[in-house]
């Protein structure tokens, strides 16, 4: 029954009804295990779709529906296992790439889907309901793919983008170092020009996919201090001098490996540099604007799922002689969660549109959206866990994984503190 690229997930009550017929069909479905595999942990979170679909075009609703289906059938049943066993689900991500998820906002002539930032946000929000960690990695991969597509020359785009779009190759974004996180412009990895190669020396920290990916977008210092001395180069796996640290043990995001990336006299051809020398920091920041929308979209999907999980739990769990859903405090709490979810979604989608249209307030809005959405959605998921009582703390229940997975969204792609810096700077520099 299971997929060769398709859905495979016909719901069990329909399966059971239609298997009553023949003894042969009974043979095909003897074990309850089959049904339980199909149903286990398989959440379809789109029954509240009316709200999440408001204001979207017919086409966007189709994207969203398809992404929800993919999340429910291909990701949700495995989300717990991927987390527990720290599996990097290459095959599932390649299935996603076949549907166009490898380069959602990359141009079609190099294999991308050519969609807008808003389309992308809607898609990542839906996919996140299946597995936040995997969706977050897919979004990082997309960001790297876009950077090459946007700042690369024709040779670079044709060399790297098609394989990134199909996810034949995977990408990693390497900016942070042990000594420079929020203060990214102070990075120390050097790139000395020798003939037609740069010699890279330094190390990058907390790199998502590091060690298991094929293409590394590395921000390194070709010039003097500060942002203007930074360039962006593409380092390919198996380049001599490229090695990795140990796989980090994390609270969440366990379906993607995180390692240090170590560069020791790593020779990278000058032809692998994206854009001009000194343009690297700008490229990195422009990548991050979209990355912030994407990460916030992942938080949104998790919160969407958690509101539904909490609601379902309240309707089922009884204490003091009645369902928890009769308790006014919990009703009010649920209402607040739903309200903040909708508010988050609106801010995020507005930021996505602003970025798409290159509006002057886009950078500020993306920072505001990342700040607000990741904070609020973490609170929503955390609150949902609380509503589950003791059960919320058990790994049998998905809510704890959503909480653990999105906690880091308040930290990476620019901490929420840095988001405030960006917003304040923009406000204080405005004339009048």
């Amino acid at each position: 029954m299971d997929s060769d690229g398709g859905k495979g997930g016909i719901p069990s009550h329909i399966l059971r009804r239609h298997c009553k017929r023949s003894r042969l069909s009974k043979k095909l479905f003897t074990s309850e295990d089959h049904f339980s595999t199909v149903l286990k942990n398989r959440f379809k979170f789109d029954t509240n779709l009316q709200i999440a679909a408001h204001g979207l075009s017919d086409e966007q609703k189709e994207f969203q529906k398809m992404a929800f289906d993919f999340a429910a059938h291909e990701m949700s049943p495995h989300m717990a296992e991927w987390d527990e066993k720290e599996i990097f689900p290459v095959e599932t991500m390649r299935k996603a790439a076949q549907l166009g998820f490898g380069g959602i906002y990359v141009q079609p002539e190099v294999g991308g889907s050519g969609l807008s930032r808003l389309d992308t946000s809607v898609i990542f929000e839906a996919l996140s309901t299946g597995c936040v960690s995997t969706t977050a990695y897919i979004s990082i991969h997309n960001m790297c793919n876009w950077m090459i597509d946007t700042f690369g020359n024709t040779e670079q785009r044709e060399k790297f983008c098609p394989e990134l779009c199909t996810m034949d190759k995977f990408a990693s974004y390497c900016l942070t170092e042990p000594g420079s996180g929020s203060d990214a412009a102070s990075l120390l990895t050097t790139a000395k020009l020798e003939g037609d190669h740069y010699i890279l020396n330094g190390s990058k920290a907390f790199i998502s996919g590091g060690g298991d990916t094929d293409v590394y977008i590395v921000m390194c210092r070709t010039g003097g201090k500060g942002p203007k001395g930074i360039s962006c180069v593409v380092v390919e796996k198996d380049t001599p001098g490229l090695s990795f640290g140990k796989k980090e043990k994390k609270v969440g995001w366990n379906s993607q490996p995180t390692r240090a990336v170590i560069l020791e006299d790593c020779h990278v051809p000058v032809t692998n540099r994206l854009g001009q020398e000194g343009q690297g920091f700008n490229i990195a920041m422009r990548g991050l604007n979209g990355g912030r929308i994407n990460i916030a979209s992942c938080s949104l999907g998790a919160a969407h799922a958690c509101v539904q999980l909490a609601r379902d739990h309240l309707l089922v769990r009884k204490q003091f002689g009645e369902a928890l859903s009769n308790n006014q405090f919990l009703q009010f709490k649920l209402a607040e969660m739903a309200t903040k979810l909708v508010a988050s979604r609106l801010l995020l989608r507005e930021a996505a549109v602003a970025l798409q249209e290159s509006r002057s307030d886009a950078v500020s809005l993306c920072s505001m959206a990342k700040l607000f959405v990741t904070d609020e959605c973490f609170n929503i998921c955390n609150q949902a866990l609380q509503m589950h009582g003791g059960y919320g703390y058990l790994k049998d229940y998905a809510v704890q994984q959503f909480v653990r997975d999105i906690r880091v969204h308040q930290i990476l792609e620019g901490t929420n503190e840095v988001m405030r810096m960006i917003i304040a700077r923009s406000l204080l520099s405005e004339s009048g």
Binding site: I10, P11, D46
Partner: protein, 253 residues
């Protein structure tokens, strides 16, 4: 070479909890999530597969109902159908619409479009009628391959492996024919992002049952809709003798 008509029905999504209307005239559909009937998805997938294998040239997705069914036709287009036909039925006619009316519409369309195959889902998950395919074949006087779990085109004939109570039955029928898709026929594909965008440009023709010479009068009247009775708790007995005694007292034996 040949054209295939595929029927797609917009039904309440399988994951939704169905609620009966307070006046017991039907189920609540307002504001409830709808999607394509799962067996219709399988039918669309089979038709698109046949086209990819170059057995047929064109796949036309057909749906009957109010404006909302165009969403379902678009999904079929995104899965690979070439064009759509929306047969507009609304209001009382839509509520009373059943397999016989649909079969008449499909029979008329099959003749009009000169289809070689009509592929439908074996039944819809809302009414579970399992009649439309059979009625369509009868009205057209075409052979039918229902409950298909495997379809192979062999020249002018179709080999169909059918799921029946006793196991599997293989039949060979001449085209034109009507097929209905069963669960194991295939695994429907996801629409890809590029296909969803291409679907926007595909045409959906609009027509009314009257244009096809079909009268929508129903011979069936729904009197009342109720939820199934709540399942009562069972009774545990200690011994086999107790069980027999209880069954006797019950009148069961």
């Amino acid at each position: 070479m040949s054209r295939v008509l595929v029927g797609v029905k917009r039904v309440i999504d399988y994951a939704v909890k169905i609620r009966v209307k307070p006046d017991h005239s039907g189920v609540v559909t307002d504001g409830v999530k709808h999607s394509m009937n799962p067996f219709c998805e399988i039918a669309v997938e089979e038709a698109v597969k046949l086209k990819e294998k170059k057995f047929i040239k064109e796949v036309v997705a057909v749906s009957c109902g109010p404006t909302q069914v165009t969403e379902t036709i678009r999904t079929a287009l995104a899965m690979g159908c070439d064009r759509g036909i929306h047969v507009e039925v609304s209001g009382k006619d839509y509520e009373a619409m059943g397999p016989l009316q649909i079969a008449k519409i499909f029979a008329a369309l099959a003749k009009k479009e000169e289809a070689s195959l009509v592929i439908l889902g074996k039944q819809a998950i809302d009414d579970d009628c399992n009649q439309t395919g059979q009625m369509t074949a009868a009205l057209l006087d075409w052979p039918q391959g229902t409950f298909a779990s495997e379809v192979t085109i062999d020249g002018e004939k179709v080999k169909v492996v059918r799921e029946i109570d006793g196991g599997l039955e293989t039949i060979k029928i001449s085209m034109p024919a009507v097929l209905t898709a069963d669960l194991r026929l295939n695994t429907p594909r996801y629409a890809t992002l590029p296909n969803i965008m291409k679907a926007k440009k595909k045409k959906i023709a609009n027509m009314k049952p009257a244009d096809l010479g079909v009268d929508m009068v129903s011979r069936v009247e729904v009197l009342r809709v109720d939820e199934p009775p709540t399942r009562l708790a069972g009774v545990k007995v200690e011994t086999v003798d107790d069980l027999v005694a209880k069954l006797k007292a019950n009148g069961t034996i």
